[in-house]
């Protein structure tokens, strides 16, 4: 899980152009939106694209997004769970 968390951190930094933020700056349990990294609605769409492009996971119900993208850890858990199912 920790390996996936670190990989995800790097991917999020690249995908969202978070140039002044390093992997160490991201607490895997901090909220991604609002506080924490302060991401916005366009970033949320980019995260959906990231899951599909890098992990082949398509989010069917947009309502799930809030839970999945709460933090880096929740994203990693969702990916792990989904990949097991596949």
């Amino acid at each position: 899980m920790e390996e996936l968390i670190n990989k995800l951190k790097k991917e999020v930094i690249t995908q969202l152009n978070l140039e002044d933020i390093s992997v160490e700056d991201i607490n895997p349990d901090s909220p991604l939106f609002g506080e924490g990294l302060g991401l916005d609605s366009i970033d949320a769409l980019e995260l959906i694209v990231l899951l599909e492009k890098n992990y082949g996971i398509k989010i069917e119900d947009p309502k799930d997004g809030k839970k999945i993208f709460f933090s880096i850890r929740t994203m990693a858990e969702y990916i792990t769970e989904h990949q097991k199912k596949a």
Binding site: N17, L18, E19, D20, I42, E46, V49
Partner: protein, 221 residues
């Protein structure tokens, strides 16, 4: 009442000039992205959203930032500062990047954050968000720099009291080729803070002069 250019920024030939002062120069520009990032770092601007912008927005953002960041808060009444920008390539730079992301059906991952910049007037939105501007705005597209078009548009806003002042100019980028000039135009006003540049009349000759700055004509007195 006479209208004056009270401040300006110029980007061209690797040079960035603000009110007659050369503040940044790169003799050889590898990419626009590197050029603008180096300028952003040098000027110690802290605005994380900058990195998410497309090239046109970065260019317009830096032009306005260098002009407005030293203005006293409240100098412009809410809604009184208009923005009128123009260029010839519109948002083509970003349109091409977006087109590339949807070209391949087997790897079809259109980027939402690129898509939102596929309109030229988004650069004005970024400037307005940064400086809390709520005045009139327009983005004009013409084949070549057209000072008469800017003059007419801005004069109409100021003469009819639809704006008290206006940021206006040219922000053009395609690939690594770019040129920009943004001027702050105000009605003649003794309250306006004096810059080292002073001021010049807002007319076609002044706009042409600022668009074609050379060492002789500007940043050396």
């Amino acid at each position: 009442m006479e209208k004056m250019i009270t401040a300006y920024t110029y980007f061209g030939d690797g040079k960035v000039v603000v009110n007659k002062q050369l503040i940044f120069y790169q003799e050889k520009i590898a990419t626009f992205a590197e050029f603008i990032k180096a300028l952003y770092k040098q000027e110690q601007i802290s605005y994380p959203k900058f990195y998410k912008m497309d090239s046109l927005s970065k260019l317009g953002f830096m032009c306005s930032e260098l002009l407005l960041r030293h203005e006293k808060p409240g100098r412009f009444k809410p809604g009184s500062l208009a923005v009128v920008l123009a260029n010839s390539s519109s948002s083509l730079e970003t349109d091409l990047i977006y087109q590339d992301s949807i070209r391949n059906r087997s790897a079809y991952f259109p980027s939402p954050s690129v898509f939102v910049y596929t309109l030229a007037n988004i650069v004005i939105g970024e400037i307005c968000i940064r400086h809390s501007l709520k005045g009139e705005n327009a983005f004009l597209v013409s084949e070549k720099f057209n000072p008469r078009q800017l003059l007419d548009h801005v004069s109409d806003l100021l003469d009819n009291n639809r704006a008290g002042a206006c940021l206006c100019g040219w922000v053009e980028i395609l690939g690594n080729s770019f040129r920009a000039m943004v001027a702050l135009v105000e009605k003649e006003n003794e309250q306006a803070p004096k810059t080292n540049f002073g001021s010049m009349p807002f007319n076609e000759a002044s706009l042409n002069e600022l668009m074609n700055l050379t060492e002789k004509s500007i940043w050396k007195n």
